[in-house]
Symmetry: C3
Subunit: 400 residues, 3 copies
């Protein structure tokens, strides 16, 4: 978006309908209208411009961003902390290990208890199929109710920091990377992106990235190829959503079990391991039933199943099949790099090495994407609010 | 306090003598004069009004609130974080697990080492009888001395976030809930509150809540009924304090071993499990002596003792005995709810469910109570300071 | 520095050449010129003056200070948090336990991933010889590269919070303590400081403190005596650096294996346990090779070796040998105090007790030293920036 002036971008943002984002959550990209998706990109870019120009974006004088990480996280944790800090919120992490959350304490109770002064709640819960997004909705309902009943002075808004269905802060950062790489959202039309499974010696990686990618990229008129070995199907509903999106945007969604077909003439490749949806559903049931023997067996099976597909590696040979051999390689990181982080993995070291800079840039959009999601949930007229910040021109760092 | 105008409340606050609170700790409610207790309620309410009106209460431009949680905590942890954030302090948690606190390092040393830039120290230490409050006093003495000797540039003030004797942020939030439920502190006069033991399948719950409640509620001219099975006596000194308070305020403190008697015609009921004081004292000694066999035995005994009193449950039947069958049910949360968090617990699910909203509101006062305690320890003329904030009218969230 | 006016100190600071500190790291004191070392002291003092006068030093409106503690820490953790808070930065701790740092993930990747909005990165990594400082340099190179390649919007600056070679925030705070105790940096000329080994029943204490002390104190024209039993040699390169420093500053560096000789007529004594450099090097190799049997044996050997030197204790008898029997006793804390934290330790309890106040004061300089290091890495003309703060006169705590 660097080819558009700040003023012009603010005007474009003003023209978008963001009214439904105000005081609302960001859980799934496909819950959001095109205007809303676009507003996130534009707001993210404008916030990054403010920061580059040492203009404070501190719209909160005080306030809390609650984070609930039900899995380990570095990138997203620091992105959330960065986004909150940029806007003036302090992070308060609900570390369930250190918390006195009683056995059987309801989500409703905990949600209200931590939210008395919360402006934002960011949640990562991506481990169990059928659980993460449901948990977020439960929290959303609880704080909705808490606000209506006068328990909470305000309704904190939720940001999905990865669930079992979608990973919107990742896919949106990825899309922003594409927009900037290809010189505009309009240039994504007709570009081919290969979202492919890749071999990893570890098991049970979440489906939210491939699902998030096909659910979002199909909206920009892209040719989305979803490739994986048989048995590695993703959620059917998300596939359906992606197909619908493609139909509407003039793009395509093509499924294949042939990685070469997917790489063929691709402009972008996103090779990444994930676990089969059905197996993950079973795992959730086994956990529910406390059947650890079944879990152990499942793990063994899945690792064996993975091992049949070690050829699903983003190799130099495969890269040659892409458009002029120069497709943009993407990954949400950390990647399993052959000979670096494992014997055999998702990507050949030489490919990964060549794309390190763009990969890190790709990750670098996430803090701004999260900040934009927060911003749009808190300001009715985001364009006007950003203009005010520019006019006020408070320095982030004192003149030096 | 919603029936009083902000101006009027500020005037009332100005009339109270809070001079001794300035640069002083808040450890036990009964260390505080009536004016001081009242000032906490009024300041808490005013701070909540500021926030509701989007007026910043950030009196600290920078500064640290140190928290020391020697037990797990959600509500109090988030309440402390919220209070600090509201006033402009960043929380720095002394996680003793991650700290290089040498074997045998004195409390005096640690207290000084973490306090160089501390404005506030909040401590929860409620596990061992004879320990928690003593620890707080030790920290207080250490920073007193540190300040006098020129080690610390200022004397950080302490807030008791629960000790073995009192839980002032809880009991004060509870009282504020009552004030707002009954339409004013003056309306508490003559109201009957039943602070009763209740059955729980877990063991060793702290005594600080019942002690805090009888120590505080007796000051408002209330009829306080303390009910528990024989053998579940609380600290004698606190009972004595409560009786003295009642005598002075024109209220009563009545002890009984009959829960029905306590519930009879009560306006408020607070049924909650706790451990017998004497047993807890023994446990402290056993820990001191490293006698884990004795601890194990004690646990077994106490669970068996609890099990004799499963009828001490806040049931619908008991609730019918209260004033018009409509007493306000209170709990510090989380509660042991029969059929929800345990097979048999402190309260019947239908009772708990009916009171969820007021229970959550009750909890919601805690951040403001803590903020008020901090505020009163830092500002000589709190009424004037709050007036200044209103006049300054800095927005907490930018105009939107 | 209390005998110099703020104005005069600002003038003195302005006269120093700090241009190379701007946007630069602080890793080793001996990488820094005399002007730069002096600028840290003066800036630290000025920042402490601001705070004492309730003038805000918040030069960052928002921003992050990343901390990476690869060992437990209380003093340094709170000092870093205090320094960041003083200047307006929020701390985001990279807790490697809670992070999704992939097996084999490169330092380069992690460093970039956490730095998108980082102003400062503070690192403690002092456990393994040859590792800590190397790690810091790796991080520095990574963010350098990240900045150059456009991944990072700015180059965060690094502060060494203790490595295997130096502990600059400690030694600089120690030096500031000496400057204030002896009434000026010029008064350190000719003073004798005994940096001596001392017995401890624990094993493997880091060498960074003695190394940091001899590397820094030799620059002020002091007579530095380094004393330890045979076999407890420190890093040769640091000894060489210290000797060179002494030659340049007109001071001396004298090595001895006789603690009495070191204490003889000393103005300052700094008795502290450390592990032999060669043994620590071997330990690093054993860890590298995963040879836990060798590590176990080494531990046994080292404890036995320590036990031969229980007479290396800072006793009253030894203290009598010092200048008028009144040398200033120093320690980085926590100390192993005979009869307090262990049966037999580094220092007699009566000696330690007598020096508690100065010891705590010594520790109290660290937050300001760290803040000064940050400040000088972020402001081109620190004297002017501090003048601006004084002129602006924003209150740290609202008028009260």
């Amino acid at each position: 978006m660097s080819n558009i002036s700040t003023e012009e971008l603010i005007n474009q943002l003003e023209a978008l309908d963001t009214s439904k984002m105000y005081l609302n959550d960001f859980l799934l990209t496909w819950d959001k209208k095109n205007d809303e998706i676009d507003a996130v990109f534009k707001t993210a870019w404008l916030l990054s411009m403010l920061r580059k120009n040492n203009i404070s974006a501190k719209v909160f004088d005080s306030g809390l961003g609650i984070s609930i990480f039900r899995d380990n996280s570095t990138r997203t944790r620091f992105s959330f902390a960065s986004a909150c800090n940029l806007l003036g919120l302090a992070v308060a992490d609900l570390d369930e290990g250190k918390s006195q959350i009683a056995h059987g304490e309801t989500v409703r109770e905990t949600a209200n208890m931590v939210s008395f002064m919360a402006d934002i709640i960011g949640i990562r819960d991506d481990m169990y199929i059928g659980k993460g997004n449901a948990y977020m909705k439960e929290v959303a309902t609880a704080v909705d109710d808490g606000y209506k009943k006068g328990i909470l002075e305000q309704r904190p808004t939720l940001v999905n920091l990865q669930c079992d269905i979608d990973h919107p802060t990742q896919s949106m950062a990825d899309a922003m990377h594409l927009i900037n790489t290809f010189g505009g959202i309009e240039n994504l039309k007709g570009k081919k992106i290969a979202m492919t499974w890749a071999y990893s010696p570890s098991y049970g990686k979440p489906l939210s990235v491939p699902q998030g990618i096909i659910g979002l990229m199909t909206r920009f008129g892209m040719e989305v190829a979803l490739a994986h070995p048989k048995g590695y199907e993703v959620m059917q509903e998300v596939e359906k959503t992606a197909a619908d999106n493609a139909a509407k945007s003039g793009g395509t969604l093509k499924k294949t079990n042939d990685i070469e077909e997917a790489f063929e003439n691709a402009d972008i490749v996103y090779p990444k391991s994930w676990a089969p949806f059905e197996a993950m559903k079973n795992r959730t049931d086994y956990y529910g039933a406390g059947d650890f023997k079944a879990i152990k067996n499942l793990e063994k099976e899945l690792l064996a199943q993975n091992a049949e597909h070690t050829d699903w590696e983003c190799s130099e040979k495969l890269m040659k099949l892409t458009n002029k051999g120069k497709a943009l390689y993407m990954h949400c990181l950390p990647a399993d790099i052959t000979g670096v982080s494992c014997k055999k993995g998702e990507v050949e070291a030489s490919v990964f090495d060549r794309y390190k800079i763009p990969l890190y840039q790709q990750a670098g959009y996430k803090p701004y994407i999260i900040a934009a999601m927060i911003f749009l949930s808190k300001f009715k007229n985001p364009a006007k609010s950003i203009s005010s910040l520019i006019k006020k021109d408070e320095k982030r760092i004192c003149q030096r």
